[in-house]
Symmetry: C2
Subunit: 319 residues, 2 copies
Amino acid sequence: VRVGALGEFGLIERIARIARRHQGEWVVRGIGEDAAVLRPRAGQDLVLTTDAMVEGVHFRWRTLRPTVVGRRLLAANLSDLAATGARPRGCLLSIQTPVSLPVESLLGVVRGLARDGSRLGCPLIGGNVARAEQTSFSLTVAGSVRRGRALSRGRARVGDRLFVTGTLGRSALDLVRAERRHVPIRRVPEPRLEAGRALTELATTGACIDVSDGLLADLRHVLEASEVGADLDLARVPRPQGFAAACASLGQDPTRLLLDGGEDYELLFSMRPSAPTASALTRRLKAPVSELGFVTPRGLRVRTASGWLKPGRGGWRHF
Amino acid sequence: VRVGALGEFGLIERIARIARRHQGEWVVRGIGEDAAVLRPRAGQDLVLTTDAMVEGVHFRWRTLRPTVVGRRLLAANLSDLAATGARPRGCLLSIQTPVSLPVESLLGVVRGLARDGSRLGCPLIGGNVARAEQTSFSLTVAGSVRRGRALSRGRARVGDRLFVTGTLGRSALDLVRAERRHVPIRRVPEPRLEAGRALTELATTGACIDVSDGLLADLRHVLEASEVGADLDLARVPRPQGFAAACASLGQDPTRLLLDGGEDYELLFSMRPSAPTASALTRRLKAPVSELGFVTPRGLRVRTASGWLKPGRGGWRHF
């Protein structure tokens, strides 16, 4: 069945049925009217973020299954929320689709998103459907955080230590492998929601951002917003098991994937000098934490075994 | 200058500069990080809605100037919010654009939206920019309403009287005129925010919806959600001054424009039988109010001078 055969309201009804299976008790009103109603607790700040996936630009049906498209779109948005330390409350999906798109592709996206949303406390509560030549999905996520406690990229200070959760480079490697071997990407990075919330409770927390554009690109966002610089130690950038071998087998430069690879959705954060050790933070954030450098008055340098790297304009760009 | 020449971050900086001129004191953090932070008051429910405009489907640059595209997109979203009685708090704009789009077209959309948003208490606080083949703008608006007081389309009861604000058919007429005479549409309907808020304070208020798809289509949404029917009186459907003559000069059927014309963004609502008169409601809602029928157990009928109309599947469909 093609999307065009259902009609707008028929399509919305199918989407609503999937979404209604996955709600939360803070959802006063979900899909079905022009506007959704949430009831976050008093004394909380509301956090909002939005991100989109366009067919042919951010994904191809050939390399991503529909449920994975939905799950990755949600993960990208929730990662932005995690970087503020907020708890997700609900999301709205704006769909643009040609009438010729198979309904199952579209509902697969909704299903993947609604299921993960339910698991992560972020039910699908509304949205919009519009006709277009190119398929795209734009998601807006709402979350809440204790009043005045939202983390920011602008709070790094000279002398802060720099940390990152998990490992970097795996999503970039997935992408190269998928394109090279014509296999779909199945892995969906897990947004670091719990780690973000834990960071709001620590007095030593400085700046925080999620690594979506690449380590250096996102670190630059922190440095610009905080008006500081940084020294990184390449050897301390955490990499997945078997990373060097995987890079070699695909003919990839591991340094480039580590420093510029995007969409890993790990949290990069700074802490005042009196911060706990990386292993104490690992316990506190319930995620592996590595220390990889510190904040300087200006400039960005990466130390390698053979001297200093001068990074170019790396990172991902949409243009 | 084309969009592609600025790069993603250059473009975002230009958008942020426009948005920062138009903020509100409840905006804790606007454009500049991955997520925006709002602080609505305690004891309030958060209301969220989203809508999109796609070039070639919902607008053409030839018939809508960029500022008008932005203003109409905001009006469409705020009208959905008005139908819940919520007060707007802020909005996020997700932009999809080819690299060849002139920057001034894109910034014109942002400017129109940010200016009206500021005037209407709904600052632009965030968003996303993505490359695509087709230009489109997807907007999400967040608002708040007194706890438990959000209006709904599902609360009409048999015996309720039906009212509508303003007049209907003007937007449909604008569209015909613009297409026929190749002149751009300049008018932007004003969302009925104040009227919606006033309805939340009245004990006699039943159901409420905004007229975006057309009077009959939106009335049907109310009837389905409330599991009731309605009788309308065609002669009492409020029309703009000079409407009959304008329809005649353009060869349009006035009945069709009144009943099926969309995008007027008026509020259609029901009230318990003890409701004030239309003129008392006009004072209370600070908008012209007309009474145009009542709620019945089932079916939808429209009375005309020559008998009953059996409306077909009218109203606007995106497919």
